[in-house]
Amino acid sequence: MKALRDVFGDTLVSLGETNPNVVVLDADLANSTKADKFAKAHPDKFLQMGIAEQNFVGVAVGLASFGFVPWLSTFTVFFTHRAVDPIRMLVAQTKANVKLGAAYSGLLTGLTGKTHQDVEDIAIMRAMPDMTVLAPADAIEGEAIIRWATEFQGPVYLRLARDASPNVFDENYRFVPGKTISLREGSDVLLISTGPQSVRCLQAAELLEGQGISAGVLHVPSIKPVNKEEIVNASEKVKLVITVEEHTIYGGLGGLVAEILSEASPRRVVRFGIEDRWGESAPNEYLLDLFQMSPGRLSERVKKVVG
């Protein structure tokens, strides 16, 4: 169990040792996002761009055209809100080989309040043509995805949680873009989730088992591209599909699943997430309870819906 921001920093340090083209651009948050580890290990490949997120996106596009693989590091909210125009025109529309390391995603941002909690990013980024959108659940998947994204030619948006979640994968894990991962089989209800919320879904499913409800968990680390058939097949095996995300229920993972199923296999889809409101400053446990995404609260809510 390792904080995903440490995974980010450590994996970049390791990549910097083997791939001479990897460079890291920071918008003055390296000691939060842990890109400072890379700065220490590879000072000549670390570019401090100051508190100026639009500019560092453009600089990365220029560097990419010289064969560098730029990893940009800042908080999620500054990518998808402040710098979304250059990301759209300069990165996505030109298919530039730029990697957006979006740290502190979702609600659990370390007591920052709603200003720094980005609960709209999936909706924004998955609407963008030519953008790959990935959200790892644990440290092992996080490292695998960072390594995959570095080799992949094209824009990648990496939605990275700040903190640690218990590992659900082992060393045999291999990331395949688009592929969904069944973390648990169940016959009554299927919880579809992404990022570390998938781990909390798994914990909720264990609680539900004790209450006579058989809940499956399907993890979607690759929001775009996504294997639609796998989502359809998994959904057809259960009576009810519930999506759970640390994100608004509009246009995110819930939107994605509802879009797929409404066309390919119409059925009821219940979306759990943030319902048209902002977050607030509070410890992780408080926020997860408030938005009914902690294993306990989530299992209660699932039970009510299934009941």
Binding site: A52, G58, V59, Q93
Partner: protein, 292 residues
């Protein structure tokens, strides 16, 4: 040394460029005129005299890089690229048409020879900074030129790049400010205000040169329509590629320059010339082969 005759050749190219721009825009029924005209002399000097480029090999890795950050002036760039041999002049007829390589705003995925996409204003200098940094890190003798509009200088992102570029001591980066003093609509002139255009200069009364210099840029101020000033300024910027300061060429220009009908008139930002106007313009630009 360049002789007067050399500049006459560039002047003739610029007149032809203006004609092809306004006639192409008229034929396609949409596009911009004022901006391409104010930048035309700068574009001609860059493509025909200053930049190390190979039109027959547009992706040549050692080429100098160029970004027209004020991407709505795309027709000006396409025309000069056509005259320079990147594409057939005939292809200009496809401008803004379905399936064309000549999109309304420059699209790097469509036309070889473009170095990035522009259109949403204020973004080009950041990419130019990345080119300059990339060339420096690869130890390549490549110079990057970025044309900025004074209108787009109102975008905050430009100032992010203006602040950071000197920090990286990028002598191989040159920004050229096409300061024509007009934008699409802007502000009305104050009573008794004197200006080369018919609306207010967005930077009226502001010491831009002083600001750029304080930020760490080496500044050269020129008349952006006088090749005897443009060419030496660009060559001087390029020659200081190994220096530790980026260069800002402040080019004083006139929007719609080169044709009396359009000079200094904000409404020609984007306007379609009538056939009668085109006849007059062709005559003024000394274009003999004009087919209307």
């Amino acid at each position: 040394m360049n002789t007067k005759t050399d500049y006459e050749e560039l002047e003739a190219l610029a007149r032809r460029g203006r004609w092809l721009s306004i006639s192409t825009v008229a034929a396609s029924g949409a596009g911009h005129v004022g901006g391409p005209f104010s930048a035309m002399d700068l574009l001609v000097a860059l493509y025909f005299r200053v930049m190390n480029i190979r039109p027959e090999e547009p992706r040549w890795s050692e080429r100098d890089r160029f970004i027209l950050s004020k991407g709505h002036s795309s027709i000006g760039q396409y025309v000069v690229m056509a005259l320079r041999g990147y594409l057939p002049v005939e292809e200009l007829k496809t401008f803004d048409k379905g399936g064309s390589r000549l999109q309304g705003h420059p699209d790097v995925t469509k036309l070889p020879g473009l170095d990035t996409s522009t259109g949403s204003l204020g973004q080009g200098l950041s990419v130019g900074l990345g080119f300059a940094l990339g060339a420096r890190m690869r130890a390549q003798k490549i110079h990057t030129f970025v044309i900025l509009g004074d209108g787009e200088l109102q975008e905050g992102m430009v100032w992010e790049a203006l602040h950071v570029a000197p920090r990286y001591k990028l002598g191989n980066l040159t920004a050229i400010l096409d300061w024509n003093g007009l934008q699409q609509f802007g502000w009305v002139l104050a009573v008794n205000e004197q200006h080369r255009g018919d609306r207010r200069d967005p930077w009226s009364g502001i010491d831009l040169r002083g600001i750029f210099e304080k930020l760490g840029w080496r500044c050269i101020e020129i008349d952006g329509h006088d090749f005897s000033q443009i060419v030496p300024a660009l060559e001087s910027a390029k020659a200081s590629g190994d220096s530790d300061r980026p260069t800002m060429i402040i080019a004083h220009t006139i929007k719609g320059k080169g044709v009396h009908l359009t000079e200094g008139k904000y409404e020609w930002h984007s306007k379609i010339a009538t056939k009668e106007e085109l006849r007059m313009i062709a005559k003024e630009l000394r274009i003999e082969e004009a087919v209307l």
